[in-house]
């Protein structure tokens, strides 16, 4: 009988540990999303006493949207130079043919952070052809030019995907996701850039007209209607509430809100309307709950995963 009094307490303490581990949620969302927080140098070049350094997230150019920071320093005085104009021009060469991509032609100086900033949306990666970045800057001692072939790799983070298409107006468009880089099961501010091919207008590059330089322009006053859904058959076309369509902000980019109700594969279904409310691209998707059937997608969509 005494044995019972010994065995039972022993049993109690043996079972206090959990059988099934709880999910480490922070780790859960951190591991699956390759994310790049810090800006690192992609390449640099020295002209006389001036060093120009081009930085991007993780020191790498990815297909899709890239924020670009350029630092211009006087190597002798180690001073950052502010009084300059820097132009930025990416060119892709594929078998003698050249094309450009959406980008900021003139980099603007950010006096708080002491660098010049801009962006580039690489439409293809370096497997297709060679990307050449041409930088021109003017300072007291004269004009300088830097040419550099850079490597553009596939974006591993699906949350920064892009898509290109020809709209109903026969124009060629590009939509690139910019944020959130690391989505949460929550309300996420969704930011995208919308660009349009305007190839026949030309700009002046190196004192010469260059059709490529301004071949893409930011699309203004459009609206991107948003309908996020989980495409897997098991999710039965699941969607989320309280999403907001993307409209253009003062920074020229398009801002909206997407809610992800759980982790997994999501499709952002879009309908793009022009300034007159006319549909340029995209179709409405069914809102029916269809368990066991792969979710229908709009003709304009971007897949993400987290």
């Amino acid at each position: 009988m005494k044995a019972i009094h010994l065995v039972l307490p022993a049993l109690f303490f043996a079972v206090t540990s959990c059988t099934l581990d709880k999910t480490d949620f922070e780790e859960e969302i951190a591991v699956e999303i390759p994310e790049n927080y810090s800006f690192e140098e992609v390449f640099s070049s020295q002209k006389e006493t001036y060093k120009i350094s081009v930085e991007a997230l993780n020191g790498t150019f990815y297909k899709g949207y890239n924020e670009v920071r350029v630092k211009l320093t006087n190597v002798q005085t180690e001073e950052f130079l502010a009084n300059s104009t820097i132009t930025f021009f990416p060119v892709l060469t594929v078998a003698d043919k050249q094309e450009s991509c959406p980008h900021a032609s003139i980099l603007e100086y950010n006096s708080d952070e002491q660098y010049f900033e801009g962006y580039v949306v690489f439409t293809k990666d370096s497997n297709v052809g060679d990307w050449n970045i041409q930088l021109n800057f003017t300072i007291e001692s004269g004009d300088f030019q830097v040419d550099k072939i850079v490597s553009v790799v596939q974006q591993p983070n699906k949350n920064l995907n892009m898509t290109s298409f020809t709209g109903n107006d026969e124009q060629y468009y590009i939509i690139a996701l910019i944020a959130p880089q690391k989505p949460k099961v929550a309300e996420n501010n969704l930011v995208a850039g919308i660009y349009k091919y305007v190839g026949d207008e030309s700009a002046i590059i190196n004192n010469e007209p260059n059709a490529l330089a301004s071949s893409f322009a930011v699309v203004n006053k459009y609206t991107l209607l948003l309908d996020p859904r989980m495409p897997e058959p098991s999710m039965g076309n699941h969607s989320s509430p309280n999403n907001r369509d993307l409209i253009q902000g003062e920074d020229g980019l398009y801002h909206g809100v997407v809610n992800y109700t759980m982790t997994g594969n999501w499709t952002l279904n879009f309908i793009m309307q022009n300034q007159n409310g006319k549909i340029v691209k995209g179709t409405e998707v069914s809102t029916d709950f269809t368990p066991g059937v792969e979710g229908e997608k709009s003709e304009l969509y971007i897949d993400i995963l987290f």
């Binding site: 009988m1 019972i4 206090t16 076309n237 509430p241 997994g264 709950f289």
Partner: protein, 664 residues
């Protein structure tokens, strides 16, 4: 010590007012029984009229104040005064414990076993606020405690075994106790194993099997003639529990419930008893659907709930006034996950929290007083004030439906009640009223896509919900002679900001069986009236009749019906004793559910009646008492489901049961 128990058996054996009166009388004669108070042991057996080996659920079901939501054969959700379990306080020896299943598959009553309980106290309405804020009342499960022995060391034991033919349930329940003048030990072990049951059409109800193991240990040491230290633990494991009304089953649940308490008695003065307890309990509850290959989505729903707390009470007495002051403080963390897999189950692809790490902290003071105004009248009054704090760690989930909702919320929960009883000859009359508030439950405030297979909606909690406020009136009247006992009770609840799920136009379902999303919202008010009649009559010294009738009506603010309101129900029973033989028969049933609520997923439930029959025979072999029982429930093999059976799953058909109990 004038807490009055609406004890279950008292409901049948005598009017509740007699029950109130009893402790008052016994108190005055208790001068030399202080030691007995040291460890309260009320020798009330956990068994019903019909059956001596019952589950806790079956035992509770024999009360006219309790009805059940059933998702299968196991772990029924008790409804007190026809209100869901969020509105009642369910405790074990005053300890707060919270289930770990978002779908309420594990009410606290699932973690005890009939052989480690001594009695169950049910208090209606605000009188139940002694353990914390409530609307419908409280259910306190009291464990068995053996008394210290004045006559030297003493071993006692009970063994009970039985077999139920319908679901091939085989059970073994064992108790062993040791008592000496300084030391007491209680131990119990129980194991039940049941297969699928068959309904009244002799069809097997798939996924209705279960296995349950429960063991408990209590050790008490007398630190002085008037004080004692006690340690208690319960460990419960349920495995392979099927829920026919759900798309998934329970793979494993485990509960560990522990406490250490110190009790001191005082022979003189204002303070009579001081009892303090520290407790800790942890529950794991793992639902999955590995047994349901037909499901398109595979989902695991593990849940964890851990609580620790303190409860301390003092009993005071001065002349005609006796009071109990109780302090309660606890912290609970509730976590529940949804892990979804595509059909090949190769890897987890989707994840969300259904309870995003919600912390609840509560601290409150409760006071109950009983004042004997005169030999024929008594006034009871009391109240409580509580502070309830919630914190949702992953508030982002809640922000999807309620952007900007606060991550933390603190609520004040006041409560007050009074009632007056008058005894006049064979009659007694009580009238009373109460006011109280409760905080929304974790699911109601922070739940996320919790699938409810009754109405097939996914439920989303609202952190901004207001407290639910209850205004309550109750009255009762009784008549008692030596052979006849009649009582009538009525209570009325007007509940402001009544929390219930309503269809959201936002969002789309997540669980593949669901048809839409409902959000917990507050109706501006709801009303519930409970009415019951109880009677018993000794026809001859050997033959006794008992009966009861209950009627309930629940309406929302637009005059519509509330869900889970029991239709008119009745029970009538005869008990015949002849020497060592006792024969019982009973008939119970519900009338047709007329006032059902299609809006909340209910449909019309037809009337049913169940006839039960049993006989037991007691005999002695070498000073050991044996009781053998054989009986049948649902003798007529009626095919039925009740108003509260999820998915209209049919109840058990004819069930022949046998059991043998040995006291040694």
């Amino acid at each position: 010590m004038k807490t009055f128990y609406y004890s279950l058996l008292m409901c049948f054996l005598s009017s509740p007012f007699y029950a109130q009166k009893t402790p008052m009388l016994s108190d005055t004669t208790q001068v030399n029984t202080l030691e007995e108070m040291l460890i309260i042991a009320k020798k009330k057996k956990i068994e019903t009229e019909m059956k001596m080996a019952v589950s806790v659920d079956e035992y509770l079901a024999s009360s006219d104040q309790i009805s059940f939501i059933k998702r299968g054969a196991y772990a029924w959700e008790p409804l007190l005064n026809n209100m869901s379990s969020e509105r009642s306080k369910i405790t074990i020896d005053g300890m707060h414990i919270f289930g770990a299943c978002t779908d309420k598959m594990d009410p606290i009553t699932a973690y005890v076993e009939s052989n480690n309980l001594a009695e169950i106290d049910i208090k209606s309405g605000q009188e139940g606020s002694m353990h914390g804020a409530t609307v419908s009342g409280s259910i306190n499960l009291k464990r068995k405690n053996t008394l210290f022995s004045d006559y030297g060391s003493e071993w006692k034991g009970t063994y009970q075994t039985g077999y139920e033919f319908n679901n091939k349930q085989f059970f073994n329940l064992g108790n062993l106790s040791f008592a000496s003048d300084k030391f007491v030990a209680d131990a119990s072990v129980a194991y039940r194993k049941a297969s699928n049951y068959t309904d009244g059409k002799d069809n097997e109800v798939k996924h209705s099997q279960y296995k349950k193991f429960n063991t408990s240990l209590g050790l008490a040491y007398k630190t002085s003639p008037l004080s004692a230290l006690r340690f208690d633990a319960i460990f419960d494991v349920a495995k392979d529990v099927g829920y026919p009304a759900l798309p998934m089953d329970l793979w494993l649940s485990r509960a560990l419930i522990t406490s250490v308490s110190y009790k001191k008695l005082f022979e003189e003065g204002l303070l009579r008893v001081w009892d303090t307890k520290l407790y800790f309990n942890t529950i794991e509850h793992y639902m999955d659907d590995t047994t349901r290959p037909e499901n398109l989505v595979h989902m695991d729903m593990p849940g964890w709930s851990t609580t620790f707390g303190l409860t301390s009470k003092a009993n005071l007495r001065k002349e005609n006034l006796s009071s109990e002051i109780q302090v309660n403080a606890y912290q609970n963390i509730a976590i529940a996950e949804m892990r979804m897999y595509p059909q090949d189950r190769s890897e987890r692809t989707m994840f969300a929290y259904s309870w995003p790490w919600v912390t609840t902290r509560y601290a409150g003071v409760s006071l109950g007083n009983s004042w004997d105004i005169s030999p024929i009248s008594q006034l009871n009054f009391g109240g409580s004030l509580g502070l309830n704090y919630n914190h949702s760690k992953y508030i982002d989930f809640n922000w999807i439906f309620y952007p900007g909702a606060p991550q933390e919320k603190t609520r004040f929960l006041p409560s007050i009640y009074t009632n007056y009883t008058l005894f006049a000859n064979k009659f007694n009359v009580t009238i009373g009223g109460g006011y109280g508030q409760r905080a929304p439950s974790v699911s109601e405030a922070y739940g996320y896509y919790i699938y409810n297979s009754f109405d097939r909606y996914d439920y989303v909690g609202n952190p901004n919900l207001k407290n639910e406020t209850s205004y309550e009136l109750n009255a009762s009247a009784g008549f008692k002679t030596e052979n006849l006992n009649l009582s009538a009770k009525v209570n009325y609840f007007y509940i402001k900001d009544y929390i219930i799920g309503e269809i959201l136009s936002l969002g789309s379902p997540m669980n593949y069986q669901s048809v839409g999303v409902k959000g917990y919202t507050a109706l501006s008010y709801a009303e519930i009236v409970n009415f019951s009649l109880n009677g018993s009559y000794k026809i001859t010294p050997n033959l006794q009749w008992k009966g009861n009738l209950t009627y309930v009506r629940g309406k929302d603010d637009k005059g519509g019906n509330l869900p889970f309101i029991r239709p008119l129900s009745y029970q009538t029973a005869f008990v015949y004793n002849y020497k060592k033989l006792s024969v019982q028969t009973s008939l119970n049933g519900d009338l047709e559910q007329v006032d059902y609520s299609p809006k909340y997923g209910e449909d019309n439930t037809p009337a049913y009646k169940i006839w039960n029959l049993s006989a037991n025979y007691a005999f002695y072999i070498k000073n050991n008492k044996f009781i053998f029982q054989i009986g049948a429930e649902n003798v007529l093999n009626e095919y039925y489901s009740t108003y509260a059976d999820w998915g209209n799953i049919p109840r058990m058909g004819r069930n022949v049961f046998t059991s043998l109990k040995i006291d040694f």
